[in-house]
Amino acid sequence: MSVIFLLIAASTLVAAVFLAAFVLAVRRGQYDDDRSPAVRMLSDDRPHTNATSLTSDLAPQKERGAIQ
């Protein structure tokens, strides 16, 4: 029966962790916009080809050393 102390402690800890995660999410601004995330998840994820070309472009620029 004394295991109940352990259980209470453990469950309270888990709940506290979730509370901390919630607080973190709020402070990072995840609750500021409640409409776009609902829509955003509906669209298919296509690879961001532009982003990958970014890194490959930067390297040659740095080598050239010229800033345009």
Binding site: D33, V39, R40, A51, Q68
Partner: protein, 812 residues
């Protein structure tokens, strides 16, 4: 027919986007949903209403973005000339970049745009897939509640003006919002969400810890004390973190010697906590910690629900909001952009069609057709010739004009007018229902506890403290404090769906007390851009109408544009077209000589002309056929709405115009009507009404209403185009919803009645609880049941009642 608006968004011209229920009898555009009348095109088996929409469709289908059309039907934004569109090159200016660019390094720039046109999921989808149209765009992210778009792109490959041009092409051109910093309403702050989360956490856990006690499974002493200490630990944040707002508000009330609703709440919290601590330390009982946690949880939910604001709308205005940021100044032969604030007397500036004149000027070149309706309320444009003065704030409707600056912005009459309006703020204070209730409630509670104390002092002195604290606990007005946030908060949301956006919940209550409604004419009762065109003369055949349209199309006069728009039908090419400024236009169409213009130009003697009307005469083949009378059309349903208002309330019409049309005037019989009102006249009228003890609601839209709007108990601004041009007010109303004004007032009045009804319900709970408390039988279990029960009942009742009333009134 009910209008529903999903969110306060605008399309390219600034029109509010409404999702209307309409019968489809005509072919509608695949892109934007407008009926295909004039320029009907077909492409790819789809219909488009104009070239603009077709072009956007092409662009999207080329880039493989046709999902735009599958997410929502007809999501497109129609390409219209935006009223305050700045040239894209202006986006290179440092002042403008400062406002937009957040980060720029090594060729990569991140910019934040305000895009009020976004209104649906298709918009969000498209704006976040911009990188598929233009590879130099790396990523874009939408914040829908703020209507903002943050784009990260390679500025070394794709300049900022180019980006703006692209956005305009697809119908989502950014709008430069005005003065920085004077901006966003806070709305629901982060702290509020955190408090809600903590409250829920503590409430749930504390309830759980109390279960063994309630269910009689007392058992081990170790468990009991362990849970008790845990509960005490959890109650600390409840009192010192969650309740701080209530304590500060209660204290502020005490210091200003006023009773507000937070004082009994604060008292209840303190009583609950101290009593519970005492019970635990003296080992008498488990305490009321679960009731305490529950109390805070429900109160915070009520607070959260009430602070629903529209972050994309702005209810406060600075004068700078009304004016363009940049204007073109002539520097020799070249034109350079310059800030309005930097204009000096003697500078020459260029103003084009639909642009606002920012300072007092003299016309030096071109013909001015200045629309002053925003400033003075005169409905039709006045003609200005070279050498005449033009006041700041007028809008040019016609060809390009060159102006010489007379006074700098700081000295302009507009600024003086604005300063006058802002001074009027001696609006009478309306007492809030909740405060008068709080007063009586607190007094009643104190009297009851005093009475109970005296009773038990005589009977069994040991019971005095327990009974008194029990009374204070159960008298805590949780349900009372919930009825108003939920009733008014829900009403705000329902009004928002129907086109009226309130600043905050208190406006609802003020609306419920209104007994006088005053309306402005130009722009409020009449639509700014819609005209009523009537033909006087022998009926015109279709061929004749085509002739007229063909000629009128080549004219730059604003009345010609109205004719072209209102006369349905085709047009053919006209030759030998000659326009005589200020007189009319003539030309040859299908070998017939046609003249369109003033009476003298068409060889006719002018008869009586009513004010507020423009006459355009037509001569075909040398024979005078008659004239069109053009005036601003009253909004649909407005006359009935006014009549409906007049049945119950006092009504009035204040206008800067010299005359009011017959049908409008008829609607105001029995009310007051004042013409030729200056802005100060309007504000004074409102003040006089208030001096007689009336509560005034003012509906207006222009700068000439700003003073009256601020002075009234409730000021509503009507807007149909760009939001930047509405004066400060308590509420913003979509132009289509003006005719629903009686409905909105009814909703507000019902909300108040529902609040009173729910106060009675919560009072009955309080009385039940107090009877338990006074007889010394208030156990923690009873308290823990009573409070959530009363809260849920009140909230459920209020929400249902408000929804039912709104729906019933919709159908009537």
């Amino acid at each position: 027919m009910l209008l529903t608006i999903v969110s306060p968004a605008r399309d390219a011209s600034g029109q509010f986007r409404a999702m209307k229920v309409k019968e489809v009898t005509t072919v509608t555009c695949y892109h934007c949903g407008d009926p295909c009348v004039e320029d009907h095109r077909t492409h790819d088996n789809k219909d488009f209403c104009c070239q603009g929409c077709e072009v956007v469709y092409d662009l999207l289908s080329e880039s493989g973005l046709c999902d735009y059309y599958s997410l929502e039907k007809q999501p497109g934004v129609k390409q219209r000339n935006t009223v305050d569109e700045q040239r894209t090159e202006l986006f290179d200016l440092p002042e403008v970049r400062e406002r937009i660019v957040e980060f720029s390094e090594e060729g990569i720039t991140r910019a934040r745009f305000h895009v009020p046109q976004m209104h649906c999921s298709s918009c969000i989808w498209l704006l976040e897939n911009l990188h598929r149209i233009e590879p130099a765009i790396l990523r874009s992210r939408v914040s829908f509640t703020d209507k903002e778009l943050v784009i990260t792109f390679r500025e070394d490959r794709f300049s900022l003006p180019h980006l703006v041009k692209l956005m305009r092409r697809i119908g989502y051109g950014p709008q430069l919002t005005a003065a920085p910093g004077s901006g966003k309403a806070p709305g629901v702050s982060h702290i509020m969400y955190i408090r809600l989360g903590v409250a829920g956490f503590i409430f749930g856990n504390t309830m759980m810890f109390s279960f063994p006690e309630y269910l009689g499974a007392g058992t081990e002493a170790g468990l009991k004390t362990g849970l008790q200490w845990l509960t005490i630990l959890f109650s600390l944040p409840v009192v010192f973190f969650l309740s701080t707002d209530f304590f500060t508000s209660a204290w502020a009330g005490i210091r200003s010697r006023q009773v507000n609703i937070d004082q009994p709440i604060a008292l209840g919290i303190v009583a609950l906590w101290t009593r519970s601590l005492w019970e635990v330390f003296t080992g008498i009982g488990p305490g009321y910690f679960d009731s305490l946690a529950g109390l805070l949880f429900f109160l915070l939910i009520g607070r959260w629900y009430q602070t629903h604001t529209y972050r994309a709308l702005r209810f406060d205005r600075a004068l700078e909001d009304f004016l363009p940021l940049i204007v073109l100044r002539k520097n020799g032969a070249a034109e350079e952009p310059v800030k309005v604030a930097d204009l000096k007397p003697g500078d020459r500036i260029i103003i084009r069609d639909q642009e606002l004149v920012p300072v007092d000027v003299i016309l030096r070149d071109g013909v001015g057709h200045i629309d002053n309706s925003f400033i003075t309320g005169e409905p039709l444009a006045t003609r200005k010739s070279v050498g005449e003065t033009i006041r700041a704030g007028g809008r040019q409707r016609g060809a390009v004009i060159e102006l010489e600056v007379l006074r700098s912005f700081a000295d302009s009459r507009l600024k003086k007018l604005w300063a006058e309006q802002s001074r009027t703020l001696d609006r009478p204070v309306m007492p809030r229902l909740i405060d008068s209730v709080a007063r009586r409630f607190t007094i009643a509670v104190l009297l009851i506890s005093l009475g109970a104390a005296l009773f038990w002092w005589g009977k069994d002195p040991a019971q005095v403290w327990p009974v008194v604290t029990a009374v204070l606990i159960v008298a805590c007005p949780c349900a009372l404090a919930l009825s108003m946030p939920f009733a008014y908060g829900h009403t705000i949301r329902l009004m928002g769906k129907r086109g009226l956006f309130l600043r905050d919940a208190e406006v609802v209550e003020r609306m419920a007390h209104i007994d006088t409604v005053i309306l402005d004419k130009t722009g409020t009762l009449t639509a700014r851009e819609a005209h009523e065109v009537q033909w006087h003369g022998a009926p015109l055949a279709a061929e004749d109408r085509t002739l007229v349209r063909s000629i009128a199309r080549s004219s730059t006069h604003p009345l010609s544009a109205v004719l072209v728009h209102e006369l349905k039908g085709g047009s053919v090419d006209a030759i030998e077209v000659e326009e005589v400024a200020g007189q009319g236009i003539q030309g040859t169409v299908q070998r017939t000589r046609v003249r369109v213009g003033s009476a003298a130009f068409c060889g006719h003697v002018e008869e009586h002309r009513t004010n507020g009307e423009a006459h355009v005469h037509i001569t075909i083949g040398g024979l005078h056929r008659g004239h069109f009378s053009i005036r601003k059309r009253a909004r649909q349903g407005i006359v009935d709405a006014v009549a409906q208002l007049g049945r119950r309330l006092r009504i009035g019409l204040l206008t800067g115009d010299a005359q009011v049309d017959a049908d409008l005037a008829e609607a105001f019989v029995g009310g007051s009507m004042r013409t030729r009102c200056s802005p100060t006249d309007k504000a004074q009228f409102v003040r006089d009404e208030q001096a007689q003890g009336h509560r005034v609601l003012m509906v207006g839209d222009g700068l000439n209403d700003a003073g009256a709007l601020a002075q009234s108990d409730v000021g509503i601004t009507v807007t149909e185009t760009s939001a930047a041009l509405t004066p400060a007010s308590d509420a913003i109303m979509d132009a289509d919803a003006v005719a629903h004004l009686p409905h909105f007032l009814r909703m507000a009045r019902s909300a108040r009645r529902i609040v009173i009804a729910s106060l009675c319900i919560s009072l009955s709970y309080n009385i039940t609880g107090v009877s338990f408390a006074v007889s010394g039988q208030l156990t923690p279990l009873i308290a823990a049941i009573l409070m959530p029960l009363s809260s849920v009942t009140v909230v459920g009742f209020v929400t249902l009642a408000v929804t039912l009333v709104a729906r019933r009134a919709d159908h009537s």
